[in-house]
Symmetry: C2
Subunit: 248 residues, 2 copies
């Protein structure tokens, strides 16, 4: 049976309540100040791969959209990440965070040393958006519904617990506090309007679950590789290497 | 500089010596008898996803090959997994292993409960074969160079340490002992012949490294989820559920 938009929205929000990665132990470790400098660096290195892939994902989405109005509404996501004349963009902001935590920004930007499991998860998201229905692609983006809370907690936790944290290094997260709600308001309205059968609602919910898996798998890989007992896969970043200003 | 075929083969074998998943701690745990019944079941459930995807990968490869002789040489891989009138095939054999370790075979075959990280890694391999050059696709299959040793060790270790292990339950691995060398002799000769520039040799070596990452990431996900301290991702198989003959 097709749920009402309000009921369906509640179903989507429940997915976040149960599966969003704010429940992952790595986030608690990070926000509480429990991470070593190298664990923070590993997070910055790996999460960069996700940041850098988001505009590729959004371009893949736009490449499949016939409607100029929808493409126009979506385009600001790419601008938010890649930058404009007035706005350096999220990718550049993330590299400021890399500077602040003392890892070489060129190494981070090279994407060398990213955990294979992070790559596989993020690439799966880009492929998903390239291959699935537009409804599923938009629904997968709705993890942004749950992001402002985690970004606010992250800013507070990092500021309280780490010397590297200041307005400059955390500017990525501050910007997302205003960018994400704008994007997700559009995406949510679009999904609620277009998921007009039970089958489409199921597909959209499954897409959102898929996306929570993508996020969770990244933190799981980070935790397994760099939190005791650490098992760093062959070829991934080794703690203490590629530090800022060092010749590694 | 282009290496000689013998030098290049040595380079490929060195990748296996350094990065093949026989070095992963989960394999030591499994072969030594250190796994609990539920850890063996988790391995059977997750590895099934890989088994089931291999003929899809091989069909994707064949769909890109113009040369009937190459397609004909490749086709036996699909037969080995999917079966023929005379041969039940590797996928059916894997489900006999599922029976033997006491997990419901329909649940295993449904691919429900597979770790998202396993899915992402295996799907990345299928995509790789679909998207990259034929040389890279064949080179990625060369992890089979290192497989007979691990299959022999696995048969020996499982027989010595687990009550479920017998000729019936381990028939998958026994068959691979003869199938894999046949496939890999063809694949290796093809790669050595076609990787005739330094650039192609680098691409083929990178493809083999990619594939070792795919295998390693699957064991890493299994270890993180089901070996103490276990962190099972949302939605993945829960120990003790979907047992054979039980109503879970």
């Amino acid at each position: 049976m097709t749920a009402s938009p309000a009921e369906f929205e509640a179903r989507l929000r429940q997915i976040g309540a149960e599966r969003y990665h704010d429940k992952h132990p790595f986030h608690h470790l990070l926000h509480s100040g429990g991470c070593t400098p190298d664990q923070v660096r590993a997070w910055v290195i790996n999460r960069f791969y996700y940041q850098a892939s988001i505009p590729i994902k959004d371009a893949a989405f736009m490449s499949r959209v016939d409607d100029p109005a929808l493409r126009r509404a979506w385009r600001s996501r790419i601008e938010d990440h890649d930058g404009t004349e007035q706005n350096e963009g999220g990718i550049a902001r993330w590299l400021r965070l890399a500077d602040a935590v003392g890892v070489d920004r060129d190494y981070v930007a090279s994407k060398q040393g990213v955990l294979p499991a992070s790559r596989f998860a993020v690439d799966a998201y880009v492929r998903f958006v390239r291959d699935k229905s537009l409804l599923e692609a938009v629904a997968a983006s709705l993890t942004e519904l749950f992001a402002p809370k985690i970004h606010a907690a992250r800013i507070e936790g990092l500021l309280a617990n780490y010397a590297f944290a200041d307005d400059n290094s955390l500017s990525y997260f501050r910007n997302r506090l205003t960018e994400a709600p704008k994007d997700v308001a559009f995406g949510l309205a679009w999904v609620l309007e277009h998921a007009d059968t039970a089958e489409k609602q199921d597909a959209a919910a499954a897409a959102l679950i898929f996306k929570t898996d993508v996020l969770w798998a990244q933190l799981d890989a980070l935790h397994a590789a760099y939190v005791t007992p650490a098992r760093i896969p062959p070829g991934a970043w080794q703690p203490g290497t590629f530090l800022r200003g060092a010749s590694a």
